[in-house]
Symmetry: C2
Subunit: 358 residues, 2 copies
């Protein structure tokens, strides 16, 4: 029997509160379907570690987790003590890049029992996937400041898109659409404003689309696309976007379904050369940390995605995934709701209810 | 009596349909409050002109409209015939830059009679202003493609922020907040991802904020900020954002109120060295053009902003502005609604109703 080694990095804020719930549900589902998991807990990757060591991760972090099968990750960031661009670039963004997790897969859907934030007619039928480029694009640390500190200050920042990086995420998105019933793909763009990178991005979408004549697809500018997430969210099936646009759409989409507390994400290296990383979409949420009211579903659902991916999206892992999602559905339908969903359940109560429904 | 010279540029698609409605209401309001307007109509600035002349505007466009008091602008873009990055950069984006219209002011509010797209408790109380930087930032044509046409292709695009350009939009936003009751400002950022430009942008906000101790303000990352537009839109008062982020937020905000067909915008050169430009937020909307169903309110309300600005936001212009907005309120309350609002009124019917209510 294969034993999967999983690095557990809790990180900051509500990451510490939701992780135990994630672990208990994932562990139970694994046992139920005969998967053997070995969790390895690490206390680095968050701001506490930084305050002591002046870095987010140990120097040899790659040696430590490079051979793991996956990383189960809570949240990172504590702006009062460490500036975000330091904590994030020293932790989650480093994982994404150095482990070439070039796909950030973020399913968005409504659940019975959860009040959707929209009043539009079919808003309860939201069910789409955001496929986000996860390693390049607008997220760059290339550039600098000229005439620094003077009135003439000029700041340059490069967005960097490669054909290699763009084609592979587009292909992944078309493949994802091929496996779905609607076979529909929306390509986020802003070719009217970002006059170099985005017309080029569009042309790559056109090139890749040649191989997928079965897929109906459109390009949509990010401004109107964001508006349509609110006006007609039920129309979307698979949405592919650059790093920045995908970041925005994958917070906006879940907000439309009622809360971002539910949303999971899978940072994938599809070739499995490096470990993939699974984390909730929400961050460390300093505003609610310590109150024990964080919704653990984003963490738990991310764990389900991890189990599925570990077994190549089939077999025991896929069954464990489905069982967890069904347990989440039951729990929400049964009206166990954390405050972000209008209820009063604590983080543990929610975790326990899902465990019981498994 | 001062006569104000106004360049009228209708442009493409539904711009052609909504402009006549805008003109008739603006003209009537001006007469009512004793403002003398002289409209100058131009057939360039849209894609029809491009197809004939291979450019969007005549070479001497600056001489033609440089001395006007304002530009009243419909919409531009017709992607099937002219790529967006050519039509937009050759028209509206050129105006914004060359006439240094560095403020894009976009009010967002709900109206009685218009069904808000949100079901969250106080969504009917949306009333905020997006102040968007309008001349630099992420909208650039600086960069290029290396190894073009090969598998090794790499595309670079620079975002360019100057202290000059950033401080003035931040100041304008703080000043705008000072004139409002809530005195609250949200600064859009993405300093955790765009690791050079956005931490710097944050530091400029902190510097400018020193002069406005009365204003309560926060920085919010664009991803969660977009989510909050859906979850708690009533909380926002003034929101200031870079060019790209402002573009997204000013489509998303109106979508939350029920339709982007209502949303106006003022592209301002506050020093009045150059003409300012007033246009609806929506574009040329090829999907509904020719059906006579476009909502003219974005165009009409933009005209109201123009009248107010012409007289320095006071006197007859301000009264004319308020009268138009009141007429819009009455009309919507009276259930004259275009299809985007769930009604069946045509573009003209809506325009006529507002005129009658004036
Ligand atoms: C924390 C931040 C850098 C990150 C991102 O922008 O990618 C987060 O918002 C996310 O979506 O995973
Ligand atoms: C047409 C386009 C270039 C423009 C922009 O992105 O600025 C539009 O979306 C707007 O918001 O005025």
């Amino acid at each position: 029997m294969t034993t999967y080694n999983i690095a557990v990095i809790t990180g900051d804020g509500i990451g510490k509160e939701v992780m135990p719930e994630g672990l208990k549900v994932v562990q139970a589902a694994a046992e139920k379907f005969g998967l053997s998991l070995n969790f390895h807990h690490f206390d680095w990757g968050g701001c506490d570690y930084y305050l002591e060591h002046n870095r987010m991760m140990p120097e040899n972090w790659k040696d430590i987790v490079g051979d793991m099968d996956a990383i189960y990750f809570g949240a990172v960031g504590w702006p009062d003590t460490v500036p975000d661009h330091i904590s994030l670039w020293g932790s989650i963004l480093t994982f994404r890049r150095e482990f070439d997790q070039y796909i950030n897969m973020r399913p968005v859907r409504t659940f019975e029992g959860v009040k959707c934030a929209l009043s539009t007619p079919k808003a309860n039928e939201i069910d789409f996937i955001v496929v986000r480029e996860n390693t390049e694009g607008e997220y760059s640390s290339i550039g600098g400041i000229m005439y620094e500190g003077t009135d003439r200050e000029v700041v340059l920042q490069q967005s960097v898109f490669s054909r290699h990086g763009t084609d592979r995420v587009l292909k992944y998105a078309f493949e994802t659409a091929m496996r779905r019933e609607a076979k529909d793909l929306t390509v986020a763009t802003k070719s009217n404003g970002m006059a170099i990178s985005m017309p080029w991005w569009d042309s790559r979408a056109e090139a890749v689309a040649q191989d997928y004549p079965e897929i109906s697809w459109t390009k949509q500018h990010i401004d109107i696309l964001s508006a349509r997430f609110v006006m007609n969210p039920e129309r979307f099936d698979v949405v592919v976007a650059s790093n920045l646009f995908g970041d925005i759409l994958s917070d906006l989409g879940p907000a439309c379904t009622g809360t971002i507390g539910l949303a999971p994400s899978a940072n994938l290296n599809p070739e499995r050369k490096f470990p993939s990383l699974f984390e909730p979409v929400h961050g460390s949420a300093p505003d609610i940390y310590g109150k024990n009211i964080a919704n653990p579903i984003g963490m738990i659902w991310s764990g389900a995605l991890m189990l599925s991916f570990l077994t190549q999206d089939s077999g025991a892992g896929a069954s464990a995934h489905d069982a967890i999602v069904t347990a989440i559905e039951k729990t929400l339908k049964g009206a166990t709701l954390t405050p972000d969903l209008g209820g009063e359940a604590s983080t543990q109560t929610m975790g326990d209810a899902i465990l019981a429904n498994l």
